[in-house]
């Protein structure tokens, strides 16, 4: 029997980058097929081609044995292909039913939306696949896990039998990941085929029937979990031995640099995002804040750096009260902030690299005296930093937009680390970076710690937290569940905390 789906020789070029290089892939009915690769390997590009969002430069797609051309998403949907994107494609002010029926609306009297029958069908599918989706709820009020279920519902509603999931576990607690796996296995039993894109080895080993590894846009190989192991997969993904942990000496923490006391912070919707959080970070240690994204970490970091007002509680840096401080005042106290979204918050892409390197110190000597800026000093410092931190660019006058993600992050790191800092707040510092850059940044963070800097690391990647942190605090729904020593805690214990389960307390269901 012909495979359900076959991709032959898929090739896609972008200016300067060969994203997909003659990739082959097959998919059987009812199969869970993982597409594994690090950030930048070409996985999402390939799936975007399949879903009609990109046009391939070369290659063939065969669905159920027939060659097809997929020019847009409507055609993909018509062929039975559905995709759940990494960033959800849901419309927050709409209800679940409206999101599900968008593009495939049923009409009453030919003109009016038939919400009732759509809701009925949703409830039906919900029961059949055990999805627990409430058609009348507004999407903006749903949790991340619930939103993901709505995305899956959208696809099932359209009777798709090829389901593409792009990094679905990035935003889930370990418990929610297991729930998702249950749903996926249920779907596979009903002959729905699933392409599971991920860069997480262990998950892929757990859920997939077959695994295809991509690296630099090429297929490296296809295997089965029984025939391989994480180390081998990692080697396929990166092409060399990968050191999965960072080499570091034990910490010798000294005086507290950051003190947070009963902190309360509201989010954009005026809800309590940080709910009475207290902790300390000492000089010479790394405190990692673990937790699935969306549990208040973003708001916490914004509050600590002065970008968001604090509704209650206190923060102190080096003994000074900073609860009402402006971002500039906090920076001047000796705080460095590597932001979550480097392109949006950390850089001005239309500025030259040199200007980006003095983005928060342009007004200080030697870059300025009074109101006048000194261009020569800025350029000299920029050249120095670019060399020190190995930023690949032909000139410091090149615009920041010309840099790759890894090099952009290096610019931010160069800028922040070269200031006289006592506290480093790093939020998702290696998001979207290739392994080489990740290793580099991890090493620099540990170096800073060894120079007696206090480091607050916020990351949803548990591996990163566990390998870098000396102590780990887990955030869940705006509260710190517990603060533990990194070398005394297991992954499973952290997972439970991340899901809101305190040790030795049974979860009442």
């Amino acid at each position: 029997m012909a495979p359900l789906l076959e991709l032959r020789g898929m090739t896609k070029r972008f200016p300067g980058v060969l994203a997909n290089d003659h990739i082959d892939l097959t998919l059987e009915p009812g199969e869970i097929h993982a597409l594994l690769g690090e950030n930048g390997a070409g996985k999402t590009t390939l799936m975007n081609i399949l879903y009609g969002l990109y046009h391939p430069d070369e290659g063939e797609i065969l669905v159920r044995g027939n060659p097809v051309k997929i020019n847009n998403s409507a055609e993909a949907i018509a062929l039975g292909i559905g995709m759940v994107h990494q960033h959800f494609m849901l419309i927050p002010p709409f209800t679940v039913a409206e999101n599900v029926m968008l593009g495939a609306e049923t009409l009453q009297k030919g003109v009016f939306l038939d919400r009732a029958s759509v809701s009925k069908r949703i409830r039906q599918i919900s029961g059949e696949y055990n999805l627990q989706v409430d058609p009348g709820a507004y999407v903006k009020n749903l949790s991340v896990g619930a939103q993901q279920r709505v995305e899956i519902m959208k696809i099932l509603y359209r009777l798709s039998d090829i389901l593409i999931l792009d990094e679905p576990t990035a935003v889930l607690t370990p418990q929610e990941v297991q729930d998702l796996f249950k749903v996926i296995r249920g779907l596979a039993e009903r002959d729905v085929s699933i392409i599971f894109i991920s860069h997480k080895l262990k998950e892929v080993m757990e859920i997939a029937d077959r695994i295809t590894v991509l690296r630099n846009g090429r297929t490296i190989g296809t295997t089965r979990p029984a025939e391989t192991n994480p180390a081998a997969l990692a080697r396929m993904m990166v092409g060399r031995e990968v050191i999965l942990t960072v080499d570091k000496k034990p910490a010798t923490p000294t005086e507290p640099v950051l003190q947070v006391e009963n902190l309360q912070v509201l989010d954009d919707r005026k809800q309590l995002a940080v709910d009475g959080v207290s902790f300390e970070v000492h000089a010479g240690e790394i405190l990692g804040i673990a937790g699935v994204q969306g549990n208040g970490q973003t708001e916490l970091v914004e509050a600590l750096t002065g970008l968001r007002a604090i509704a209650g509680g206190h923060t102190r840096i080096l003994g000074k009260e900073t609860t009402r401080a402006t971002p500039r005042q906090i920076l001047e106290t000796g705080v460095a902030h590597v932001p979550e979204d480097r392109q949006r918050d950390g850089l001005v892409l239309s500025y030259p690299i040199a200007d980006n390197l003095v983005l928060n110190s342009y007004y200080l000597p030697p870059f300025a005296s009074g109101v006048m800026m000194h261009e020569r000093a800025i350029l000299a410092t920029a050249a120095d930093l670019v060399h020190q931190f190995d930023v690949r660019t032909p000139s410091t006058q090149a615009l920041a937009s010309t840099l790759s993600g890894g090099n952009q992050q290096k610019v931010i790191v160069a800028r922040e680390f070269s200031r006289p800092i006592k506290l480093l707040i790093a939020s998702q510092p290696t998001r979207g970076l290739d392994v080489g850059s990740i290793e580099y940044i991890h090493q620099r963070v540990v170096d800073k710690r060894d120079q007696n800097c206090a480091v607050l690391l916020v990351s949803p990647e548990l591996d990163e937290i566990m390998s870098l942190s000396d102590r780990i605090a887990v955030m869940y729904r705006g509260k710190i569940m517990d603060i533990v020593q990194a070398n005394q805690v297991t992954r499973e214990q952290l997972g439970l905390l991340m899901a809101g389960v305190k040790e030795r307390m049974k979860d009442e269901k």
């Binding site: 975007n48 879903y51 969002l53 990109y54 847009n72 998403s73 409507a74 055609e75 949907i77 995709m83 994107h85 494609m89 849901l90 419309i91 927050p92 002010p93 709409f94 409206e98 999101n99 029926m101 968008l102 593009g103 495939a104 609306e105 009409l107 003109v111 009016f112 939306l113 959208k154 509201l266 954009d268 005026k270 968001r308 007002a309 604090i310 509704a311 209650g312």
Partner: protein, 425 residues
């Protein structure tokens, strides 16, 4: 329109309560001072409830109001509200602001009419009429912005439509051709804006400005080249009002002047209001439009053609704005004057924002702005009673717009993708 400013959200604003309270108290005291000062004790104000036509059927009693007691009471009431707000604070600040404004307004009108009369029914009728171009402009804005395209060219479209309608009506001798021309030029100019902003991804504010500058240019240019030379082509051409067609309807008290002394464009705008409100939230077109304005990429992944949806909506918006432009001439004075729209297109945008991008909200706001306009006209008549120079009265609609906008932005949310060009990767 997306506001770039990051207004740092302050914790519970105790000081804001104080400031508002102090302000309202001040307003109340000002009312007492200003409006009681030169009022003679026995003066009465007559608020007319009849028009020439309606009086033929029934003469309703005019509302006669003793000025001093009313002004004193209202002023005192506002002072009380102000002090309460200062000390205790109201929960529904919007409601309070509305209440204070209303009391101030009533007091002001009563005072302005002391010893004389003015037509209350007239000002209400004029409010609906003057609200019409603003409503149509706001509906046009809603059609565009709900789909994610900011359209500040409404002013230019209305101006162009006003001009074209008179020209074509007089050249062909048929008022409906004039109307069609207005709708047509609306569609064309909107299409121009759409192509620039959707296809060429020009900043939507800039492309709207292009249309506005062009409209000013070409209407003034052709006005001088054609209308000044052949003045017949600028002869007055208007639609009759309902009561002119069916005189008996105009005689109904209150309803007559309010609704039947209006022309067909006013009625059409009310119909459009209802149709668009229902369609936007209950039809497939409405759902897709709103999706494209909130999260175009999501709509795209579900197979909806974002570009086509935006084009259609912008052009529809242009047609509605064209109707709004026709109001100025065919629905009102009948002939074209330079720059006759006078900023109404921008006020319409404010009405749209103030109404939270819904047709019903826009209706309420445009009534407010229409009232400000009507008030300003009426006050010119009472100008001797009201010692405000006429030029300041003319500023009233614009000041009201700024105040309304300042009060409400930040508490209303535009469609999430409003103003952003959609890029297919």
């Amino acid at each position: 329109m997306a506001a770039i400013a990051q207004v740092k959200s302050q914790p519970v604003t105790f000081s804001r309560q104080r400031i508002l309270g102090a302000f309202y108290t001040f307003v109340g005291l000002a009312m007492l001072y200003l409006f009681t000062g030169d009022t003679k004790p026995d003066q009465l104000a007559t608020l007319g409830m009849n028009t020439i036509r309606s009086v033929q059927l029934i003469k309703l009693p005019d509302i006669i109001v003793p000025v001093q007691p009313v002004v004193w009471t209202l002023g005192a009431l506002v002072v009380i509200l102000g002090v309460w707000q200062l000390v205790r604070g109201f929960r529904r600040t919007g409601l309070l602001m509305g209440a204070v404004s209303f009391l101030f307004l009533v007091s002001f009108l009563v005072w302005a009419a002391r010893g004389t009369s003015f037509s209350l029914i007239g000002i209400l009728s004029a409010s609906l009429q003057l609200a019409t171009p603003i409503l149509l402009g706001a509906l046009s804005g809603i059609l565009c912005e709900r789909a994610g395209v900011v359209n500040i060219a409404i002013e230019g479209i209305m101006l162009s439509a006003a001009f074209t309608s008179v020209l074509f009506a007089n050249v062909t001798g048929n008022i409906f051709v004039g109307l069609a021309a207005a709708l047509g030029i609306g569609a064309i100019l909107a299409a121009w804006h759409a192509v620039l902003s959707i296809q060429f991804k020009v900043n939507q504010i800039i492309s709207g400005t292009v249309i506005n500058i062009f409209a000013t240019g070409f209407t003034n240019f052709l006005n001088q080249r054609i209308f000044y030379v052949t003045t017949d082509l600028n002869t007055q051409v208007t639609f009759p009002t309902i009561s002119q067609l069916v005189p008996d309807l105009g005689k109904i008290p209150i309803l007559g002047p309010l609704f039947f002394d209006q022309g067909p464009i006013v009625w059409t705008s009310l119909v459009l209001l209802v149709v668009i409100q229902i369609a936007l939230f209950n039809t497939r077109w409405g759902l897709r439009t709103r999706a494209v304005g909130e999260h175009p990429r999501a709509a795209d992944t579900l197979g909806i053609n974002v570009f086509r949806a935006r084009y259609i909506n912008v052009i529809l918006g242009g047609i509605v704005a064209g109707l709004g432009g026709a109001y100025f001439t065919l629905g009102s004075v009948g002939r074209f004057d330079k720059l006759m729209t006078n900023g109404r297109g921008f006020i319409a945008l404010a009405a749209m924002i103030f109404g939270n991008w819904t047709p019903t909200g826009a209706f309420a706001s445009s009534l407010l702005f229409g009232f400000a306009d009507a008030l300003q006209v009426k006050l010119q008549i009472l100008i001797n009673q009201v010692n405000i120079p006429s030029e300041f009265l003319l500023m009233l609609p614009y000041i009201v717009t700024m105040v309304a906008l300042a009060g409400v932005v930040g508490r209303v949310t535009p469609p999430a993708a409003d103003g952003e060009a959609y890029e297919k990767q």
